[in-house]
């Protein structure tokens, strides 16, 4: 595969043709904040936290879905990027009801840890306080729409790792929501295999194992890695 050479944060690196900026940066030991990205599943650029500056292009581009090109000059950290990342995080918090203090994922939440690592000390926007429900009809798992950031990790693992296609998105804009099958209670889904991959993939407290209370919902991502490794490398390493 042809290699491309590019510059990220002043560092000369080479990356395979077809690699994303995020792949290239990760290989070079440069960390870009991500939220909707999940190793082993294709990227959709939903959360906009991995936005980077590319010289010669005015708009910011998501590192997870932008392919590398020969001679690209990329900045992954700048005043402008920090401003937009913080804004994005604040909008995510303002859009739904993220009450960390009483959330199952408190202390194990990627949204929460990104917020503090990127210096978010408060939300400047008005909270919307929308009314969303909790789907507790499944025997093993629950879905709390209040905590959902629509990263679509659950949809992607359900379709492309498990192959069940239970999880989908309905609606538009801030009225979008994750649904099961034809927008029915999760517990009545014919296609759900109860594998739990969606729960393991969720970055926040939106999907949880029943019985978990405040701060108890810890994810075990190794289960997903196991399947991805098995598929891609034909190695069944537990």
């Amino acid at each position: 595969m042809a290699a491309k050479t590019l510059t990220i944060d002043g560092k000369q690196i080479s990356a395979d043709q077809g690699a994303t900026i995020l792949d290239a940066a990760t290989d070079a030991g440069i960390t870009i904040p991500t939220l909707c990205h999940l190793d082993g599943v294709y990227d959709v650029g939903a959360c906009r936290l991995c936005l980077v500056e590319v010289a010669g292009i005015n708009k910011l581009l998501p590192a997870c879905t932008t392919r590398v090109h020969e001679g690209m000059v990329i900045k992954t950290d700048s005043e402008r990027l920090r401003k937009y990342r913080r804004m994005t995080l604040e909008l995510l918090f303002a859009e739904r009801n993220h009450v960390c203090a009483v959330c199952v994922a408190n202390g194990h939440c990627e949204l929460q840890s990104l917020a503090y690592s990127l210096g978010m000390d408060h939300v400047r926007y008005d909270y919307r306080f929308p009314k969303w429900g909790v789907d507790n009809t499944h025997t093993l798992f629950g879905m709390d729409h209040n905590r959902c950031i629509l990263c679509m990790r659950c949809v992607r693992v359900c379709w492309h790792i498990e192959g069940a296609g239970t999880k989908n998105v309905s609606g538009r804009g801030s009225g979008s929501q994750i649904i099961s099958d034809l927008n029915q209670p999760w517990g009545t889904s014919d296609t759900c295999t109860r594998c739990g991959k969606c729960v393991m993939a969720c970055p926040t407290g939106a999907l949880f194992a029943k019985g978990a209370t405040v701060s108890e919902m810890e994810r075990d991502r190794t289960r997903l890695e196991f399947i991805v490794t098995a598929r891609e490398k034909k190695q069944w390493i537990a």
């Binding site: 009801n97 203090a101 959330c103 929460q112 503090y116 009314k131």
Partner: protein
């Protein structure tokens, strides 16, 4: 140097942030030597004084009394610190906001009428029981807030960090896990 005139106030919160403040343990003794505590739920002062240097605000703005006192505090204080998640995000008290506008009436109806075992009726005592605001607000949506000290409650070492910075005359600055909500 003049001692820093410090106040703390308890608005719509559970007092957990003040409990965490008391968790400062022996630092409280050092603190007592360095500041004048001029107003707080832990001392017996009824009226918020003038010319206060720093006030820690615990709790969300839930009722008219909270709003009135917060405005008075702003007018009489140099630096306001949102102290804990209820002041910073409105947190648990704001869960009632999910019920939509005018939820101040429906929550009282639910608690004092539907849930009452005897004497159902919403308490109305003008001048004694402050009416609820239609929406619960984080402190910075009611008045200008200078610094934020999140956490539910903020752990004692986080409070100590901010107080120490203020006492040294520095701008309070927290970073990384010190900014964790919840």
């Amino acid at each position: 140097m003049d001692r820093l005139r410090v106040a703390t106030v308890w608005l719509g919160g559970c007092s957990g942030c003040h409990m965490s403040f008391l968790d400062l343990d022996e630092f409280l003794i050092d603190l007592a030597g360095m500041i004048d505590l001029v107003y707080s739920p832990v001392i017996d002062v009824k009226e918020y004084p003038e010319e206060v240097d720093v006030c820690l605000i615990e709790g969300a703005v839930c009722n008219e009394d909270n709003l009135e006192i917060l405005r008075r505090i702003r007018a009489r204080t140099r630096l306001l610190v949102s102290f804990g998640d209820c002041a910073v995000t409105a947190n648990v008290p704001a869960i009632r906001n999910q019920l939509g506008l005018r939820n101040d009436e429906s929550v009282l109806q639910r608690a004092y009428v539907e849930g009452a075992q005897s004497n159902p009726g919403v308490p109305r005592e003008p001048g004694i029981v402050p009416p609820l605001l239609p929406q619960v607000l984080p402190a910075h949506q009611a008045v200008h807030i200078d610094y934020f000290l999140p956490g539910c409650p903020p752990p004692a070492d986080r409070i100590r960090t901010v107080l120490s910075q203020l006492l040294r005359g520095e701008e309070p600055h927290l970073e990384g896990e010190q900014l964790k909500f919840g």
